[in-house]
Symmetry: C2
Subunit: 194 residues, 2 copies
Amino acid sequence: MSTPALEIQPRRLRADAARNRAKVLDAARAAFAEHGTDAQMEEIARRAGVGVGTVYRHFPTKQALAEALVEERFKRTIAYTTELLEEPDPWLAIVKSFEFCATTQEQNRAWAGVLAGIAGGSGAMQPAEHQLGQLLANTERMLDRARAAGAIRPDLKPADMPPLYCGLAAVVQAGVADWRRYLELLLAGLRAPA
Amino acid sequence: MSTPALEIQPRRLRADAARNRAKVLDAARAAFAEHGTDAQMEEIARRAGVGVGTVYRHFPTKQALAEALVEERFKRTIAYTTELLEEPDPWLAIVKSFEFCATTQEQNRAWAGVLAGIAGGSGAMQPAEHQLGQLLANTERMLDRARAAGAIRPDLKPADMPPLYCGLAAVVQAGVADWRRYLELLLAGLRAPA
DNA sequence: TACAATCCGGAAGCGATCTTCCGCTTCGTC
DNA sequence: GACGAAGCGGAAGATCGCTTCCGGATTGTA
């Protein structure tokens, strides 16, 4: 986020263009947070204080704009799950990963759709292949650590996880205020049997 | 489904009209099952073998048509949960209620949206108030029975349930083929601690 | 300052859907 | 079988939201 992207941006943006691009991304983030995929291009432009034409100058389609935001979220998610591998308590790492998922959904109402695509195997807004692979690898390591510590039921597989995240995101998306209670029940099912 | 609806239909429908109404409902059921809320009126008309005008003669808006289907599902759900109160094994009753939820979602891709509305308190396609009350009452009795039998964790409240159904429906909607595995993990969290 | 490349704004174009409208058809009855 | 009421079909209307287009403004450089 600090230096790269030179392969994608062959030439330097003019100062005003760079400024506007950032404003568009901010506005889009807010609009998607509020309305999910139904956010409208014109509203995004208005929030950014630019014309729709400017939005389209930076992102060729609405889909591309949405994907840029998803990729952003995905990077943060991968970064966070990587951090979690350092968490001393492997069970707590799992708990935190679910909480992160829920708050991400709160910040971007399109997130549940992305997770649904991952869990279900299809989905209109898939992240890049290698990113997805990295996230799944982190998940696997997280489970391995917890299993080794005897914190989770031994038969819990990596493939079990995406649906669990997907369900949680859906509950948050539905507007369940007390999603932590839902999470508590969910986690109880993952614990190692006493 | 066999005799009622006389309060809603003040005058008797002409034979062909009644036939078409049924065809429209069948077609709509199929279309909504496949495409959820995105099902198109013209496709419904085509499937029913009638013109769009005929669809609108029977249901003033797409929303009304969708609501008719939801109400239908809701009646079946209430009927089924009422049956379940007779189930000798209270734990099995709970399991079956979740399975019923999942298969309902498989048969109508708009179901998850309805449950989301119930769980979250808002939602565009709410069922009638008294129907909802009846369903929640059944849920409560179901839990009471299971709690009395020591089959579930004692702190499980009726209000915990809608999000659980909502999450399951979302997972099924996402296209997770092995939703039974998800359900298994979920149920493990509801069991009474050993 | 002058010039050219770059960028901006927002009106207009366009496709997709829901909904209306009305002349024609079918049904039920006398 | 004749008549009026009820129902039907599907083209046209209305709307909505994404996308394009281009004259004019801005930026960076000579």
